[in-house]
């Protein structure tokens, strides 16, 4: 990553969609999650039985549905970017709203999952597996909320006509962030819920 180029004006460098600054965030977020995933792998390698045994108690069906929901939302965001490239701002806003709705479904399902775990008495101190499960899913959950806020801001601005085919960096910026949120989940779900 060239940290010195592009920053002054995102328009200088068209190879990256969206504002250059969001890419610094994206890389930083991926780095944090990446280190977290490595720590998970490290901890699991020292305690494979515990991790395998505890993993069975996770709600894989909800996790799988949430995976589909997030992938769908990413598709909807892509449609939104395509729409604004055709100068169809109202259509763009509608696709974004649909993507936010998917985010809402994810959040609702996740809250149900958290509720079930907390009702069963699970805490961060239950064991190392649950420490990772709760930390990783909670941090990701916060990113979904953050992504929804960003998409909502972009959708409102799109509806007000702030973007056009010629100038829509904001839409691409929001879309890039949302794809990152999706990407992290696509790694997180198999890693924590499925692989053993």
């Amino acid at each position: 990553m060239d940290m010195t180029a592009g920053l002054p004006a995102a328009t200088e460098q068209r190879s990256l969609p969206g504002d250059f600054a969001i890419w610094i965030f994206i890389y930083a977020e991926l780095l944090v999650f990446g280190v977290f995933f490595l720590a998970y792998a490290f901890a699991r390698s020292h305690n494979v039985e515990l991790f395998d045994a505890q993993q069975r108690f996770l709600d894989r069906n909800t996790g799988a549905i949430n995976t589909l929901v997030l992938i769908t939302s990413s598709f909807l965001v892509v449609r939104a970017v395509n729409a604004i490239r055709r100068d169809a701002a109202a259509v763009c806003a509608r696709w974004l709203t649909a993507a936010i709705a998917c985010g809402g479904i994810f959040v609702a399902l996740k809250l149900g999952e958290f509720h079930a775990k907390f009702a069963a008495g699970v805490t961060l101190s239950t064991n190392t597996f649950y420490m990772f499960y709760l930390s990783l899913t909670f941090f990701h959950f916060m990113h979904v909320l953050m992504g929804m806020v960003i998409l909502a801001v972009v959708a409102v601005k799109a509806r007000r006509g702030a973007y056009s085919a010629a100038s829509h960096t904001g839409v691409e910026t929001g879309a890039s962030y949302w794809h990152m949120v999706d990407l992290v989940w696509i790694v997180l779900f198999p890693l924590v819920y499925v692989m053993h």
């Binding site: 920053l7 002054p8 780095l31 280190v35 961060l124 420490m131």
Partner: protein, 464 residues
């Protein structure tokens, strides 16, 4: 000077430098006490020297931050300060309260000071860095509120820039987090837990916002690079600071009785804390390389670049050295911590205040930049202080590594005091480096009184 009220910064800067000299003198006393335990005993016992050394540091940095804010806020807001009179009044309140507190430390036994100041009514004393009598703490809150009121109204009534808003956020956070100094639960775990909300969330949270905004301001001024470019960097840097620094508090929660997950959270997030500092280094050099003017104040540019490098080394690299829980298990509370503390405070906060003073003081005294001879002397002091601080850090790191080995890691660990004797050579070397630092500081003070050489002139290439 664009606005008359910016002049209130001057007494703040002068007081800051004066207290800085005091801090270093007590540092030298304490450094000597490491190897000569009875030095100045019983007049100035080690614990008192340490308290004065650290408290003076905090107080003079606060003077520096306030002076920096009074200087840059009117210029950024494009209006006079809301109340210059209030700023001067608070200056005297803070200076007198600070002086009385230090005299209290030196003249009255600590327990007596606690009784004298009515600590029983609201006990807050007796905790590292928060040793101030409760009444002094209340004074600090009053000064902070008055200061925020003054700065806040100036910003809200004028041009709102990113530099201003980040600075205001940092200063507000500084004031709010200090309120945890009044929370003093009986439970020692809880006490330490919230104590870090002042100590850690200051220096690895809101103070970094203050650092970032002051650095951005000076770079805008001395490089003439577009404000939009610098502001975007500032946004990214402070976001990274907060993402890593807030949960990074966990690196203090490994062994104080808090749940075990802090070992993971603290390790993972604080391992990322060097990133914003590295970005700051890239930022500063990048902006200076792309400068659109040659500012006559070379010393200020040197300080700005020095801050960016030394903050990364001291806070970033030396912090990372012992931030991971498995490493910290052995290094906790050893001289490794002292090494990190010295270079981080110097690199990040001492140097940013000196950067601001270096930039603003000549202007406050009616010149765009100091005379050539004065600047040369100032640059000498920069190198003497910075290089000697590198050596202080290296010697303490050497002491720390040896201490960890002798006292904690080897198959046959020896007691604390036995280990201290074996590492005494490092303490002597550190003391010598400390004397060089003092010489650098004296030259720094002298540089304000030196005139002559080619007078500094506004650059013809000034396009800003």
């Amino acid at each position: 000077m664009q606005y008359r009220s910016q002049a209130v910064a001057k007494p703040y800067f002068i007081a800051a430098i004066g207290l800085f000299v005091g801090q270093i003198l007590f540092g030298l006393v304490m450094g000597l006490q490491y190897v000569w335990g009875d030095f100045l005993f019983p007049e100035i016992p080690f614990n008192v020297a340490r308290m004065v050394h650290t408290n003076l540091l905090i107080v003079w940095l606060l003077f520096g931050f306030m002076g920096a804010a009074y200087y840059l806020v009117p210029e950024e807001s494009e209006r006079e300060l809301h109340s210059p009179g209030l700023a001067i009044l608070l200056f005297w309140v803070f200076l007198i309260a600070g002086a009385l507190t230090i005299l209290g430390y030196l003249l009255v036994p600590y327990a007596g000071l606690a009784k004298l100041t009515g600590n029983d009514l609201l006990p807050t004393m007796g905790r590292e860095f928060l040793e101030q009598p409760t009444i002094t703490k209340i004074g600090i809150v009053i000064v902070a509120l008055g200061f925020l009121y003054n700065i806040g109204l100036t910003i809200l009534g004028g041009r709102k820039t990113v530099v201003n808003l980040v600075l205001l956020t940092g200063l507000t956070g500084l004031a709010l987090l200090f309120l945890f100094a009044f929370y003093n639960p009986d439970n020692l775990v809880k006490d330490k837990f919230y104590w870090w909300w002042v100590v850690h969330l200051w220096v690895e949270g809101v103070w970094e916002l203050i650092l970032g905004s002051i650095l951005a301001f000076v770079l805008i001024k001395v490089t003439g690079v577009d404000r939009e470019v610098i502001e975007k960097w500032l946004y990214v840097i402070i976001a990274m600071t907060l993402i890593t620094g807030i949960i990074g508090t966990g690196h203090h929660y490994y062994w104080i009785g808090t749940p075990e997950y802090w070992q993971w959270w603290g390790s993972i997030f604080s391992a990322m804390e060097p990133i914003p500092f590295f970005m700051m280094t890239v930022f500063a050099f990048n902006m200076v390389n792309r400068r659109r003017r040659e500012h006559p104040n070379k010393a200020a540019v040197l300080w700005a670049l020095g801050t960016a490098v030394m903050a990364f080394l001291g806070a970033g690299v030396w912090g990372f050295l012992h931030t991971l829980a498995p490493v910290n298990y052995y290094t906790h509370g050893t001289q490794i911590t002292a090494a990190h503390g010295h270079m981080a405070f110097y690199g990040a906060y001492v140097m940013i205040v000196l950067t601001m003073i270096s930039y603003a003081m000549p202007i406050l005294r009616g010149q765009e930049a100091s005379d050539e001879r004065s600047q040369v002397l100032e640059m000498w002091s920069f190198w003497l202080m910075t290089v000697s601080m590198v050596f202080i850090t290296l010697f303490l790191t050497g002491a720390g590594i040896l201490q960890v080995w002798l006292q904690r890691y080897s198959t046959d660990p020896i007691p604390f005091m036995a280990a201290q004797e074996k590492i005494a050579i490092f303490y002597w070397l550190r003391e010598i480096a400390g004397v060089v630092f003092l010489i650098g500081l004296v030259l720094y003070v002298v540089s304000f009184f030196v005139k002559g050489g080619r007078p500094a002139m506004a650059s013809a290439a000034d396009t800003a």
